[in-house]
Point group: C2
Chain length 218, copies 2
């Protein structure tokens, strides 16, 4: 009785179900930074290992992520860049049509950084001219898995003590995991509080890589 249409809809629904839990969306954003093991993902997302493993298997069954075994670890990564497009579409729709999201984005996020973010191409241009210091605000591990070439990794918690290592003259552009990642917002706010000239990059590292721009690994 189930025609091809019905079967297709059920498969699409499996994909929707993968996106229907906040922890899984959190894991997806972490995985988007680069391939990672179950244990480190569990820790970064604040989940027990068994629970993280189960969420990751839901994501794998949905097709959004794939996994491979390396030694005794299982590494998860995004199935492709179109997953980023799907997440972007989800965010855009939520921002436009979910009152609560619009409120948060226009309140918490926009307030922290009234200025337009720097676009990727803008940043590329300014980097070539050597006019700018690029800060990667993510944890070390994510920086190690891939970052913008020439960027300096200063995780948010270390920003205060390492601030004086930066020349006070040059402009600073900060980035982190994605469009709503709070790390870069906090960093820009902190830097401006110190009288620095600081801006935020649009989106985050996964989008930079997906745009085909150069990437460096440790």
């Amino acid at each position: 009785m189930a025609g091809p249409k019905q079967t297709l809809l059920e498969q699409f629904a499996v994909l929707g179900k993968a996106l229907s839990n906040a922890h899984r969306l959190d894991l997806l954003e972490l995985i988007a930074q680069g391939e990672r093991s179950v244990e480190t993902l569990a820790e970064a997302a604040g989940l027990s290992i068994a629970n993280a493993s189960q969420h990751l298997q839901v994501l794998r069954r949905s097709g959004l992520v794939t996994s491979r075994k390396l030694g005794q670890q299982v590494l998860y990564r995004l199935s492709g860049d179109d997953v980023l497009s799907l997440l972007a579409a989800l965010r855009q729709t939520a921002e436009r049509h979910v009152a609560e999201v619009g409120r948060l984005v226009n309140g918490y996020f926009k307030e922290k950084d009234k200025m337009e973010p720097v676009t990727r191409n803008d940043l590329m241009r300014r980097m070539k001219e050597g006019l700018v210091t690029v800060l990667d605000i993510r944890p070390e591990q994510e920086f190690a898995a891939g970052h913008i070439p020439g960027s300096l990794n200063i995780p948010l918690k270390d920003l205060k003590k390492r601030l004086n290592a930066l020349s006070p003259e040059t402009e600073i552009v900060a980035y982190c995991r994605g469009p709503y990642c709070v790390l870069a917002y906090e960093a820009v706010a902190a830097l401006r509080g110190q009288g620095r000239k600081a801006l935020r990059l649009e989106d985050g590292f996964p989008e930079w890589r997906a745009a085909g721009l150069p990437v460096e690994k440790l």
Copy 2:
């Protein structure tokens, strides 16, 4: 303890949850054809009225659709064209990364129509030259709510008896609800079986309208 990030993820998850049920995805595609009442949506989707009403309320709470009261009916419609983009992203990701979907699309759907579908712009061009008959294969009600100007409404079930009303010379382009709507595929197959030259339009009516192309209403 729930920071803004957590709240955002929970809201995104609400959107995902709306997409996590095959009946709701079915209803969404129907709503995308045009504003419709609960009763007609329930019938078209093969659901009881109470059940359809509940699914529709889930969709409304998620922000994907809105509703308004007209007389004693409640009419539901899409919140915006970005919902179509979200659905397209969902389909694309499923097609690329869910084995079962790839199998179905490359089997059932592609087989029925090996040729590339006609693009929207192509169809516009051919229509201007008067070289083509455009068939809308959807049920009357959906045709009435909006269709491609100059198209002829022949619901799939009426195709056989009304086939001879079409000039045997002109090429036929058929369309229906969307990229995986089976109606147009079946129609093209049936027409070709009768020795007609028939092609399928890419996607369906909602995408035509969202592209800003002209639309006619009864």
